[in-house]
Point group: C3
Chain length 128, copies 3
């Protein structure tokens, strides 16, 4: 049973570490641009980093839920691999968004949401 889960657990731990990294980036951005809590508004550079972290945080529980259900009911290896791909695309999303709101679109291809929307709206298909 446990063997069956170790890949999912590893990807989950990696996801947690990624979230910690994103949070730390917000802490650094707060220092750099002197935006002290509880404020969340500041120069656009800060707001982009802040929103990138919030957006990734929003999808974190959804990601964990999908990862574990897919891993338990279908195939652990495939799920873990897709999980890794998702985490990598989130990393690109975060870095892209930190630089400019447009950049985030380019890398968001593996994003669950963008997958859906790219199916519905053909002309916005991301080129990842």
């Amino acid at each position: 049973m446990m063997d069956h889960l170790v890949g999912l657990a590893a990807v989950s731990v990696l996801a947690v570490m990624e979230q910690a990294y994103f949070s730390l980036q917000v802490v650094y951005a707060r220092r750099k641009h002197s935006v002290s809590p509880p404020s969340t508004s500041g120069p656009p550079e800060f707001e982009r980093v802040y929103r990138a972290q919030v957006n990734c945080t929003e999808y974190f529980p959804i990601f964990i839920t999908v990862l574990w259900i897919a891993g338990l009911f279908f195939h652990q290896g495939v799920s873990s691999l897709c999980g890794l791909l998702y985490l990598y695309s989130r990393y690109c999303y975060f870095n892209g968004y930190s630089q400019s709101p447009q950049q985030r679109r380019i890398y968001a291809g593996v994003d669950l949401l963008d997958m859906v929307s790219s199916c519905l709206i053909p002309d916005s298909t991301p080129d990842l």
Copy 2:
């Protein structure tokens, strides 16, 4: 073991799809009202949709945690059913809130939080 979990998993997948639907509504509201990221402020119509999605997102991990613990330790069928009821009430909440902040209250009766507060504050008992 797996049979014992399939109902919970189905409700979880439905919850994920509901969250994806809420997120898409925010994307559409962003387009309609020209509120491009990283901004989250705009006309009241946009802010209501945005806040409705954020509020549902806030309770998503709490919902998943309660669903699975109740399903594992008590009764899968009952938990799944209550889960479906919660998802339906969230759908009503989202639509109500999108129309007006008052509407959201009417439908929020199955909301965990409102259940607690309606126990504590008798005169605000929701009429669901």
Copy 3:
């Protein structure tokens, strides 16, 4: 199997109740300072309570994930105990932050993030 999980489940339920408590505090703060939804800005007293709840909510799914993986793969007792410690420190964080943004730092020592940052930045080591 179930025996092996009952401690983790108990801590998770406690975490859910703590989140419900934080949410109720926001509802009360909204009433007290007349900040009606969808607005989230108001007097600093309100914004601190609001941000404290949002910040705790952000870390909730991360906490649940770490708790269960640590409990399943390492030791249930130790994980549950660390979980309780985390919940207590979150309670202190929330109360501290509600009073002043500086207060929150003092109690945030068990915070995952602060643990990381206190390792990286020696002079900001929290004195918990």
